[in-house]
Symmetry: C2
Subunit: 357 residues, 2 copies
């Protein structure tokens, strides 16, 4: 029996989480495995109940679990707090750090029935595309040292350091190649090896790791060209392997190109495949409590959890297929409905996906 730490959080978090658990319960029966769900407070809810966004008890529960299924945190109620105490920063960053969640998977997939929402021309989109952005999450220029400011007046100089260790590049590259094996077998490494020394090392290590995956195709692309090629023809990509900053940029562009940002899941993993799974979107306080939020991103995050942390790849496939089938049948929540008067609510969407399993 696998233990899941369920951190529903704030805003629409609890509503969409309820549907994800419903789907997990249905799928575990079908595939003959058992999950135990342990709930704990996080984010604003935890600030209200425990005084901090990530209580010790929540962290302990996570450490005793096989994976963390996360909802969303934050909302206007906690915006007056100092930045370091706000739900997003005080809950997610410590979780990433504590469990060394260095690997961020961000799928950007356009479902066939939703291609009309895509900002690209119909002949470019075709039947939709399916990209997995693999972003290194704990190193690179956002964390590099030294950084600071020195000097005064017009000569004042501010600086940051981009840096990677060979071992850091190696472990994220392995995550990309391993993911590609479960997909279309292609890795595109995004770098800027023509000008950045860090990226020369990056490319060297990626080439080394590639030798261990002779069945996976590898190519390299400069980050500026990558932003162009995503627009010109997103179908050319399967797995995009990126450092922290380039992954931040590329995964967001790819997400926007799907046209359905509310449907996107994400996973943050460590070397033991322990991970935190959460919708890429936010807590949407404006529609919280109304029962109309789209639960698909949370449900797809649960599928990623099955695939990447728990080793239940078939069950994950089944959930994704059920989501696709449901959308193909024209069942949509308000955020993606062409005719909003026909939209289903959060629970109805969850039920429809369970029925499609």
């Amino acid at each position: 029996m696998k233990k899941i730490a369920v951190l529903a959080g704030d805003g629409i978090g609890p509503e969409v989480m309820e549907q994800a658990l419903k789907v997990l319960v249905a799928v575990q029966k079908k595939f003959g495995f058992e999950l135990s769900f342990q709930h704990a407070d996080v984010g604003g809810a935890a600030i209200d109940s425990h005084g901090v966004a990530l209580p010790e008890s929540t962290l302990t529960l996570c450490a005793e679990s096989d994976a963390i299924l996360f909802g969303s945190v934050g909302g206007p109620k906690w915006e007056h707090l100092p930045p370091a105490e706000q739900p997003e920063r005080a809950a997610l960053l410590p979780l990433r750090k504590h469990f060394d969640l260095f690997c961020n998977y961000r799928p950007a997939r356009v479902f066939k029935s939703l291609t009309a929402a895509c900002p690209l021309r119909a002949d470019i989109i075709g039947d939709g595309f399916d990209i997995l952005c693999v972003r290194e999450l704990t190193s690179g220029i956002y964390f590099g040292t030294p950084k600071g400011r020195e000097g005064a007046g017009e000569d004042e100089y501010a600086y940051d350091t981009m840096g990677y260790k060979r071992s850091e590049v190696r472990r994220i590259a392995h995550m990309a190649f391993a993911a590609a094996r479960q997909r279309s077998g292609k890795v595109t490494s995004v770098d800027k090896a023509n000008v950045l020394t860090t990226m020369v090392l990056w490319r060297e290590v990626v080439l080394e790791v590639a030798k261990e995956y002779p069945d996976v195709k590898l190519n390299h692309i400069y980050v500026d060209n990558a932003t162009m090629q995503l627009v010109r023809d997103p179908h050319q990509f399967d797995v995009m392997l990126c450092g922290n900053m380039f992954g931040d940029i590329i995964s967001d562009e790819a997400a926007m190109l799907t046209g359905s940002m509310g449907l996107l899941a994400s996973a943050s993993l460590n070397t033991e495949n322990f991970g935190l799974f959460e919708p890429a979107g936010g807590s949407a306080p404006d529609i919280a409590g109304q029962g109309i939020a789209n639960p698909i991103a949370e449900i797809l995050s649960a599928a990623m959890m099955l695939r990447y942390s728990l080793g239940y790849g078939e069950a994950a496939d089944a959930i994704e297929a059920a989501v696709e089938k449901t959308l193909d049948r024209g069942i949509c929540t308000a955020d993606i409905a062409v005719d909003r008067s026909q939209a289903v609510n959060t629970a109805e969407m969850g039920d429809a996906i369970v029925a499609a399993l």
Copy 2:
């Protein structure tokens, strides 16, 4: 009388340059100013004639001129040379360095008659968009020190330094605000001030400079969000102000979004408004010598030269209007023609634009 150093270079360079000069001759009559054109070798042509991509005589001519009108350099003939001696690196980088051309203007404009070529959905494009990317070109992470590699084995560490001095941010910000004044009066500064110390200084200085331009509207956007917003709605941007690396990324994405990369001009300027003006595309050796290349990017580069280096803004406007009128009349070279059998050649396009003046 203003002196123009004409460096046509290799590939299609000389062919498209001929048309740009034709247009300049026509416009100077109309607006009552006089230009003198001095030709010199550059790139592969200069390697063949002088043994180096940037001969001393060419550099001297440039120094004695009011602006440099550049064609394009490079081609298969010189690809066997060591990278540092190849036409692109050995001609353009020293020119930028010698004249301190720190400011790169890259317009990304969709002409109304060419919106169908744009990769975005028709309802997003509308009648086209018009963005000017202002990129700092001589500092930032591509040139920052220290950079290098240290350690060995799995601990080997490679690093680069992103850095800006207050004075460097100030001068590029001024270029952005000045350009915005001649356009729609809006600057969007692209940064990552939420995580990078360099970008905190960047934003501070941009805010300071903005006070000197109360007529220009300023807003700030994170680079990852910028790549998304460009796709979602490019019309929201007028001037995008970027550091070197972010400008590299953003200007390329914006260029691709126009769908007509062959039409894009560029300018690299110093604090005295001395500059080098060139098409954003390359030397296209595959079609060189056939007289079918599209001269519009070179002609629009000549217009930028009139506007930004020579102070003939009205003449620049006239050229841009003539290009638009020509395209509206359905006159297209093969690269942008819907029906290639109706395409005009390089000289015919030049003549049509002169006629439209």
